[in-house]
Amino acid sequence: MRSGGVTPPQKTDRPVRRNKGPATSPRRGEIIIRVRNLVKSFDGRVVLNGINLDIERGKITAIMGGSGCGKSTLLRHLIGVLRPDSGEIWVKGKDITKFNESEMEQYRKRFGMLFQGGALLNSLTVKDNIALPLREHTQLDEKIIGMIVKMKLELVGLRDFEHLKPSQLSGGMQKRVALARALALDPEIVFYDEPTSGLDPVVGGVIDQLIMDLSHRLHITSVVVTHDTRSAFKIAHKMVVLYRGKVVAEGTPEQIQRSKDPLVQQFIHGRPDGPIPLRQSSRDYLEDLMDME
């Protein structure tokens, strides 16, 4: 296993661990999600190769890595859409990889998820989109639901737009509405899939601010999967860097910043040269060229 080049914790209050056996309980905060030795492969290609991860309650954890490093696959395991080949995911003391249909349903009602493209239902208005989980999973009457929808929209600053269709909104507004929908059932955990990708810096900043507000004010646990290092450094309490299906570094943003690991340094500074190869061909170049005819 590759050792993360994170410098040992000096005056931090959060211990840094690197894939070493069972968790020692941290001094502050409680671990809400515990991932252990998660392995997944598709058609013989290993995508997750023994992921170990702890996510603290009420904190923002950023999972970072380049394209194809397995971070989206990891997220899909956390939301229970994919089942691992082996390994465990403990959420509040229960292993979600062993859940049956109804247990999974209960689990899914307790978290929210913001998809990369928002994934609002295009056939429904903004209001109906946010009301959907409420109508499906609660017995509240329409008046109360209408009030909750307004409250959630106020949270993301879009109260005037409840009667529009998602296609009439800009990309950034769609994401904010999607965030309001993710919050509809007052979840304990919110997962974010690339929350700032495809947005201009200002709108991206607005989303970052919303994520931070939710964490600070409502103590919602946030798991942010992103390759936007600028945003991750701004919002995260803890960062996890993935490379080729493994956790290569984890720690506070300061620790990651000071990391001596060339891999981490290359990633956070976006350098073209370094241990992460630009080319992804498995065959020898010359051999491949000669083989052309």
Binding site: V47, V81, L82, R108, Q116, A119
Partner: protein, 292 residues
């Protein structure tokens, strides 16, 4: 982003084709054998996945409502309007003209025997037993299975279906069941209309151009028409409805790769449902011929 496309495929098959239970490995069957074996394996995979979709649909339609998961009545009515009521004009149009053609073509031959008034009975039998159900199904297949695949396929690509699943709203219950039920209810209704309008078309041309007396035409038609013929026709249309809904939805759930994928799936969906309708028609007609 290859990781992403892989994981989307994974969640699709989880939601629909039952990968979770280890039934199939939908997607790229790299493990399949060479030559002729591969298409055969692929075919069987699709068959088992669509069977699984059908089985899940029935479970959410027939069993889950009694376990506290009520059917979505509003969605069902919306779909009925969409696939049923809005298909009425085109079904009317097609069956009216087919009725005319039917009477003209048969009268042309029956004239030789001086038996043109039997064109009326032939039209009524052909329409109720065969052409009514088939025409309604073909018209609706073109309209509806394309619409289902395009709509749900786009939802698949934009992660809307995944979002539903993650919100603990079962995509099959939310999307497939209303569409399936709407089809199964509305297609037999459309079939009855197609039967009737076809006969009216035949009657108009038969009494004017062909020159059969009006009362004689009606009498011959009623004599030839049996309840059995109408019922077998309706039974077939229920099967056709199931085929259209299942193929339309299934093709959407296996969409891969953006707009191009949706377009391709939509085309395959229409062609597949048409072929399956004809095959099922042939099969049931044989059964009815032999045993009824």
């Amino acid at each position: 982003m290859s990781g992403r496309s892989d994981s989307v495929a994974g969640s699709t098959s989880d939601a629909v084709s039952g990968n979770r239970k280890g039934r199939i490995s939908s997607g790229s069957p790299t493990g399949a054998g060479p030559g002729l074996l591969r298409p055969a394996v692929l075919f069987l995979q699709h068959l088992s996945s669509i069977t699984f979709l059908f089985q899940e649909t029935l479970r959410w339609l027939l069993i889950k409502p009694f376990q506290g998961k009520p059917l979505r009545v509003k969605a069902i009515i919306t779909q009925m309007d969409e696939v049923g009521v809005k298909s009425v004009p085109i079904v009317f149009l097609v069956s009216f003209f087919i009725g005319i053609i039917l009477v003209l073509q048969t009268a042309y031959q029956l004239e030789k025997f001086g038996a043109t008034n039997y064109a009326a009975s032939l039209a009524s039998v052909a329409l109720t037993r065969e052409l009514g159900p088939l025409l309604a199904a073909i018209v609706v297949a073109g309209r509806v299975s394309a619409a289902y695949t395009a709509e749900l396929g786009t939802m698949m690509v934009t992660e809307e279906i995944l979002a539903l699943e993650v919100m603990a709203i079962h995509p099959i219950a939310y999307l497939v069941v209303p569409r399936f039920l709407a089809m199964v209810v509305m297609l037999p209704c459309l079939t009855v209309m197609a039967d009737l309008v076809g006969m009216i078309g035949g009657y108009i041309i038969g009494t004017t151009t062909v020159g059969i007396r009006s009362t004689l035409y009606i009498e011959t038609t009623l004599d030839a028409m049996l309840l059995k013929d109408i019922l077998t026709g309706l039974a077939k249309s229920v099967v056709f409805a199931g085929i259209i809904a299942m193929v339309g939805c299934y093709m959407a759930f296996i969409v891969k790769g953006g707009a191009e994928g949706v377009g391709k799936a939509t085309m395959i969906s229409v062609v597949t449902s048409l072929i399956l309708i004809i095959l099922a028609d042939c099969f049931f007609t044989t059964i009815f011929y032999l045993f009824l």
